[in-house]
Symmetry: C2
Subunit: 380 residues, 2 copies
């Protein structure tokens, strides 16, 4: 299922290949986010042009609108949205905890009112597996409780124990139902929780590995904790995950964070920033972000970046600035394409660097060039 | 400049070919509208895929944002927006009269405050020609006063006389400056005004023809007058325009109106509806419009139309409905592509029908199939 093709002698970075029912994913990989069965503003043909290999979609959002039954009747999520490559779906848990109203967490799962029209709903381990089976994603995530940050050790342990009992119920549901997509077994990833506590992260990893899933994710990252904690969590967790299974860090993050997590042995990433920040004119570059609404780009007739995607290269910063200022959708499209290309090509360069034995240089270069915040002169 | 390739024996319909500095336009033709240097939500490569031959852009909007000087410095509008086919620009007059604030019309032109930040501006015949020369459009429109509807005969005549004096000043400016685009002479179209009065329309046509422009437009259409008046105006005007010059009906209209105006000898059309109505989920079909937000499409797994564009064909009505309901930009994109394809392919079919001598059948078919309003069951 997961081939380990090469490892980096200077770090825990890995070059791998994950086989899924809808195709192969070369890792490390960045996954564009298509929350509502659409990577925001992007046509599936453009995802192919961007060489996206796998996208992420959100079970909670699709369950609320249009409903899992409609997507099932359409022939599954791939057919519904016209993307025929691999899809990973989350379990819906994260959105229940962050978006839904009147939440009540019980042993059996979570009761809540949805955020769109307030309809009372229930999501538990079995429901989350059922919905993802109906969607027909290639990789389905286990239902877990995402602990907030900060969180005391007793609270984190209590939450983790619930997550582990839910994982066991997911495992049982999978064994009984053995869901298929494209005629092949759907892959299920366990999610390591345990907040910022080493013993809990290790306990979580150990118990999930004992349940034997085709892949493992690290959850509860990017929930507000310092970057230092994020890296520590990866350091604590990865050594306890099997070498021959893919590892996914959920919901990042900046480019240097992605590279630093690759160095710690993470294979898969997702991030909403490339498309979310495009809306207000923010483009990623090797040096950090640039805000194209800034007046200094009014007569800048160079492209966003020399190494941007061919679909974006013909357009100048001046033109894209004009489009954003006049709220033209094409501006959002062009920056989204650029940002997705930027993240995807970074992952591609990381793969190449590991293969060629120069990952250490690549890591140093990416981290040292990137400025974590826009410079003062770049904000308008 | 304009070749008349075929005429229809049953009507005044013509099949023509207009040579412009940036390429050839086969007529009758529909022109997608790119108000702010972007056909809303559409990438120039998609315009090529749609077989668009010429687009329209708006001088007033571009003058306000980003400014004609920036577009000139970018190498002209084609280079700025990445569309290298023919472009027609309006004179800016219509927007000054419909959008700008504190308007004062004087003999020399129009003083106003722009609608974006209230900056006082002045637009007159010479300025309108200068700005369009800076934009470098292939076809530039003369500066005119667009009379409102209804309008008394004395008011319409007073307005027309001003428009004719402005046309004379445009003619003089063109003769003195001889603007080029892509190294070839920019084409200038005169605009026939005169409201709903036959004598004024004829006077307008006669005097403009005497000034000898490369093409003529009919203005003051679709300003609220009954369709009957629109057709009468075309009936009165076209016979007074030279056979060997293209004719453009400004700012329509429904599909049957387009076909009926082709039958009266009009060659060029524009309409904002294909992209404007896409935003609220309205798609054009041969039978009229359909509103994809309607619940009856929730499980409709057929495409918008069997003859939609290949970029839209893979997607179902159910999926596009979901995208519109969740305000996903891709929904707007797909309906815009469909609607533009629908208008463009109608023009293509009209050209073919005239060539093949079956325009009368085509006209009957289009007009009889189309329902002017959505059926009651189609509105939600």
């Amino acid at each position: 299922m997961f081939e380990l093709l090469a490892t980096d002698p200077t770090s825990a970075a890995r070059r791998g290949r994950l086989h899924t029912p809808h195709g192969v994913i070369e890792t490390p990989i960045f996954m564009p986010v298509g929350t509502q069965a659409s990577v925001k503003a992007i046509h599936p043909q453009e995802l192919i042009a961007l060489e996206a290999q796998v996208i992420l979609s959100n079970t909670y959002h699709l369950w609320v609108r249009p409903g899992a039954d409609i997507i099932k009747d359409a022939g599954g999520l791939h057919s519904f949205m016209g993307w025929h490559g691999p899809i990973l779906t989350d379990s819906g848990g994260y959105q229940v905890f962050s978006l839904a109203k009147l939440r009540k967490i019980k042993e059996e799962g979570c009761y809540f009112n949805n955020h769109v029209d307030g309809t009372p709903m229930f999501l538990g381990p079995e429901t989350a597996m059922e919905i993802q089976a109906a969607l027909g994603s290639d990789i389905a995530m286990l239902f877990d409780e995402c602990t907030p940050w900060p969180c005391s050790h007793p609270d984190a342990e209590k939450s983790l124990d619930l997550t582990l009992r839910w994982a066991r119920r997911c495992r049982d549901w999978i064994d009984q139902n053995q869901p298929l997509t494209a005629g092949k077994p759907q892959l299920h990833f366990g999610i390591v929780q345990g907040s910022t506590y080493e013993d809990l992260r290790q306990k979580s990893a150990r118990e999930l590995v004992a349940m034997d899933f085709p892949g493992y994710a690290i959850g509860g990252l990017s929930v507000g904790e310092p970057e230092e904690d994020m890296m520590r969590i990866a350091d604590w967790t990865c050594p306890h995950l099997p070498q021959n299974k893919p590892r996914y860090a959920m919901g990042l993050g900046t480019l240097p964070q992605m590279v630093e997590l690759i160095a710690r042995g993470i294979d898969m990433f997702d991030c909403v920033l490339p498309t979310r920040l495009a809306r207000n004119g923010t483009a990623f570059t090797h040096e950090g972000t640039l805000n194209l609404r800034n007046a200094k780009y009014a007569r800048d007739f160079s492209p966003i970046a020399e190494d941007t995607h061919p679909l974006v290269k013909p357009f100048t910063r001046a033109y894209i600035r004009h489009l954003i200022n006049t709220q033209e959708v094409l501006g959002l499209r062009l920056i989204s394409l650029h940002n997705l290309h930027f993240y995807l090509s970074l992952a591609s360069r990381a793969r190449q660097a590991i293969e060629q034995g120069c990952f250490a240089d690549f890591r140093t270069e990416v981290v040292s060039r990137y400025q974590p915040r826009p410079t003062a002169s770049d904000s308008d």
